[in-house]
C-alpha cells in the first residue's frame, strides 16, 4: 500500500507545484507578507513613539507664570525634562504638537494648585505629566518646610519598589498569542487553493474516474492525497515561520540599536529560544496534519473547484470559533486548561502559546498530536467512504 501512497504523493506534489499560484500562495505569500506586516507595524509604532518622545521632552508653561518657570528651570537642571517653552495657551500648544504636556501653577496663600495639561489622544502623556506634578509638589513642600525651619521631606518618607512575578509575562503572552494566530490564519488560507484542487480539481478535469478505475485501492489514493496536502501545509507553515522569524530578528536588532526607553523588542530574544522554534515547528506539523484532513474531505465532497474554494475560504475563518474560547486566557497571560490540547486548531494555538510562555510539557505535546492524528485517521476513513459514494463521485 505504501508504495502506491508514495506514488500518489509524488504525483500530487509535482502537479501542485507546477502551478504558479501554488508557489505564490504556499511559499511566497506567507514568507513575504508576514515580515512585511510585522515590520511595517513595527515602524509605524516606532515612529509614533519617537515623535511622542521628542514632544515629551519639551513641556509647555504659561507665559508670565513665574512659579511654573521656577520649577521648570529646576526640572531642566535635574534633567527630568529636556526643555520647556513659554506659550500663551498651553492647550493650543499641545494640540499643535509643540509639546506633549504642560503645567501651570496658581498660588493662594501657602497653598498651590498645579494644573496639568496632556493630550488624551496620545498614550504616554498623562502618566508623565502626573509624575512631574508629583515632583513639583514634593519640591514645593520641601521648600516650604525649609522656609519654616523643618527637616526635608525625603528624610521622613522613602519608597522602595518590589515588583513581583515575571516582568516579561505580558510580552510573552502577547507574542505567544500572535504567533499562534498568524500560524493558523496563514497556513489555512494559504492552502485553500491546493486543498480545493486535490479533490474537486480531479472531478473538474475528469481525472477522477480513470483514477478510481485504476488498480490502486481507495485507501492508498486518500492517504496519498492527505500526505501530499500535509506536506504542502507544512511548507506553507515553514515559510510563514521563517518570515516571522526574520521579522522578529529584525525587530530585536533594530530596537537594540535604538537603546532607549522606546518599544524594546530585544526582550523577545529572551523567550524565543531555539527550543521555542522547535516547538513552533511541532505546532505547524500538528496544524498541517489536521488541516490537510479537513481540506481533503471538503474538496472531495465539493462538486467543482470553485465550490471547494468557496467552502475552504469560509472554513479558514470558521476555524477561529473554537479558538475564541482560549483567547481571553492567552491575552491575560493565564494558564491554559488541559482541554485546549484535545481540540484541533485550538491545540495548535495552545502549543505555540505554552512554548513561548515556557509552560509546555511532554503531556501537552502527546495529547495534541494524539488528538490530531486520530482526527486525521477518521478523516481518511471518511474520504475512503466518500470515494465509494456514487452520488459524490458523480457530482459534477
Amino acid at each position: 500500500m505504501w508504495r502506491k501512497v508514495w506514488s500518489v504523493v509524488r504525483k500530487e506534489l509535482k502537479d501542485l507545484f507546477r502551478e504558479k499560484r501554488t508557489i505564490f500562495m504556499t511559499i511566497i505569500l506567507p514568507a513575504i507578507l508576514m515580515p512585511a506586516i510585522l515590520i511595517s507595524m513595527f515602524y509605524l509604532q516606532t515612529n509614533t513613539f519617537e515623535k511622542e518622545a521628542v514632544q515629551a521632552k519639551t513641556i509647555a508653561i504659561q507665559t508670565g507664570d513665574t512659579m511654573a518657570k521656577h520649577y521648570a528651570e529646576i526640572l531642566k537642571a535635574k534633567k527630568i525634562i529636556e526643555n520647556y517653552i513659554e506659550v500663551d495657551d498651553i492647550s493650543k500648544a499641545i494640540k499643535d504638537g509643540k509639546a506633549l504636556t504642560g503645567f501651570s501653577i496658581k498660588q493662594s496663600g501657602d497653598n498651590i494648585v498645579i494644573e496639568t495639561f496632556y493630550n488624551v489622544e496620545k498614550s504616554s502623556g498623562g502618566k508623565k505629566i502626573q509624575a512631574i506634578a508629583n515632583i513639583i509638589k514634593e519640591m514645593y513642600v520641601a521648600e516650604y518646610l525649609q522656609k519654616h525651619g523643618l527637616p526635608p521631606v525625603n528624610m521622613l518618607t522613602q519608597i522602595k519598589a518590589n515588583p513581583v512575578g515575571d516582568p516579561l509575562a505580558m510580552a510573552k503572552a502577547m507574542t505567544g498569542y500572535m504567533l499562534g494566530l498568524f500560524l493558523v490564519i496563514f497556513t489555512t488560507i494559504g492552502n485553500t487553493y491546493l486543498g480545493a484542487d486535490i479533490g474537486a480539481g480531479e472531478k473538474e478535469r475528469g481525472t477522477l474516474l480513470p483514477l478510481l478505475s485504476s488498480p490502486a485501492d481507495r485507501k492508498s489514493i486518500a492517504t496519498g492525497k492527505w500526505v501530499a496536502l500535509t506536506i504542502t501545509n507544512l511548507i506553507s507553515a515553514t515559510a510563514l515561520l521563517a518570515g516571522e522569524g526574520f521579522a522578529i530578528w529584525y525587530m530585536i536588532k533594530q530596537s537594540l540599536q535604538m537603546g532607549d526607553e522606546k518599544i524594546d523588542f530585544s526582550m523577545m530574544g529572551q523567550f524565543i529560544t531555539p527550543s521555542t522554534i522547535v516547538m513552533l515547528f511541532l505546532a505547524a506539523i500538528l496544524l498541517a496534519l489536521f488541516g490537510a484532513a479537513v481540506q481533503l474531505i471538503i474538496s472531495m465532497w465539493s462538486k467543482t473547484l470553485r465550490e471547494a474554494q468557496l467552502y475552504l475560504g469560509q472554513l479558514s475563518l470558521l476555524v477561529f470559533l473554537p479558538a475564541m474560547a482560549i483567547i481571553p486566557t492567552m491575552i491575560s497571560g493565564g494558564k491554559l486548561a488541559m482541554w485546549a490540547f484535545y481540540i484541533p486548531i485550538v491545540n495548535t494555538m495552545a502549543l505555540v502559546y505554552n512554548a513561548v510562555m515556557g509552560q509546555l510539557t511532554t503531556l501537552h505535546i502527546v495529547i495534541a498530536f494524539g488528538a490530531n492524528i486520530i482526527v486525521a485517521a477518521i478523516a481518511i476513513v471518511i474520504v475512503v467512504k466518500i470515494l465509494d459514494m456514487e452520488q459524490v463521485i458523480l457530482r459534477t
Partner: protein, 240 residues
C-alpha cells in the same frame, strides 16, 4: 472475458438497466451500441467498479465486480468518454503514474509506453499535457488505460471528437490489441467504425439488449446494406 448477467440499475425511481446480458470474448471486439441514454455508460461505469449494480453481476476474467473490485480493476483498462488527463504533468508522467499505481515496474512501463507511442504516432509526450489538442490527449488517455497490460479493455467513445488521422491511428491500435488476444468492449456512435472493428455487436435500447449478433448477421436479418440502417430499424422497432 466479460460476462454480464441480468444487470439491473436504477437512479431514483428510473430503472436505467433492466436486466442486461452480454458476453465479450478474448481476441474479439464486441460493440455496445445504443442511442443516447440507452444505458451504455451506466453499464461501463458498473463494469469499471465506479457504480454499483442493483441486481445481477458482471465478471471480468472470472472476477466478480461486486465481490472482487480490486481484482477486476487489475484485469481491466478503461477509457471513459469524458476522462481527462493531468494538465500539469507531461504525457509520459501521466502514463507512468498510472503504471506505478498498477505496480508495473518503471523499466517495463517505459518499454511498453514507447512501443505504444510508436504505434499511435505520439512524439509530444514530453510536453505538458495542458498544451495538447483533444486528439493528442485521447491517445495518451488510451495508453494510460492499458499501460498495465490488462487482458480486458473497455473503450467508451474512444474516437469522439478526433480528426481523421487520429481516428485511424486509434482504430489501428484497437486492431493490434485484438490481435494480442485482448477482450475489447467498444461503445461507439460511429456505425462505420462498428463495421470496421466489431466482431459481434449488442444493441441496447431503454435499458434492454434488443438485438445481438455479428454485423453481417444483423444486416441480413434486417435486410439493410449497413449496420447503421439496421441499427435505426432496431431502435425504431423498439420505440414503445
Amino acid at each position: 472475458m466479460i460476462e454480464i448477467r441480468d444487470l439491473r440499475r436504477s437512479f431514483g425511481k428510473t430503472e436505467v438497466l433492466k436486466g442486461i446480458n452480454l458476453k465479450a470474448e478474448p481476441g474479439k471486439v464486441t460493440g455496445l451500441l445504443g442511442p443516447n441514454g440507452a444505458g451504455k455508460t451506466t453499464t461501463i461505469k458498473i463494469l469499471s467498479t465506479i457504480l454499483k449494480a442493483h441486481g445481477g453481476d458482471i465478471t471480468v476474467n472470472g472476477h466478480s465486480v461486486s465481490k472482487e473490485p480490486k481484482l477486476v480493476r487489475k484485469n481491466l483498462g478503461v477509457v471513459f468518454e469524458e476522462s481527462g488527463i493531468y494538465q500539469r504533468l507531461t504525457g509520459e508522467e501521466n502514463i507512468l503514474y498510472f503504471a506505478d499505481l498498477a505496480d508495473v515496474p518503471p523499466e517495463v512501463a517505459k518499454k511498453r509506453m514507447y512501443k505504444f507511442f510508436a504505434l499511435l504516432g505520439v512524439d509530444y509526450a514530453q510536453k505538458l499535457a495542458g498544451t495538447y489538442s483533444k486528439g493528442m490527449m485521447q491517445k495518451i488517455n488510451l495508453i494510460r488505460a492499458i499501460i498495465h497490460n490488462p487482458p480486458v479493455v473497455v473503450l467508451d467513445e474512444p474516437t469522439n471528437g478526433l480528426d481523421v488521422p487520429s481516428t485511424r491511428a486509434v482504430e489501428t491500435f484497437i486492431k493490434e490489441m485484438k490481435e494480442e488476444g485482448k477482450t475489447i468492449l467498444l461503445s461507439t456512435h460511429l456505425m462505420a467504425q462498428v463495421e470496421k472493428l466489431c466482431d459481434y455487436i449488442y444493441i441496447i435500447h431503454k435499458g434492454k439488449i434488443v438485438e445481438e449478433g455479428t454485423p453481417q448477421a444483423i444486416k441480413e436479418k434486417y435486410g439493410t446494406a449497413t449496420v447503421e440502417d439496421a441499427f435505426l430499424k432496431v431502435v425504431n422497432t423498439n420505440v414503445a
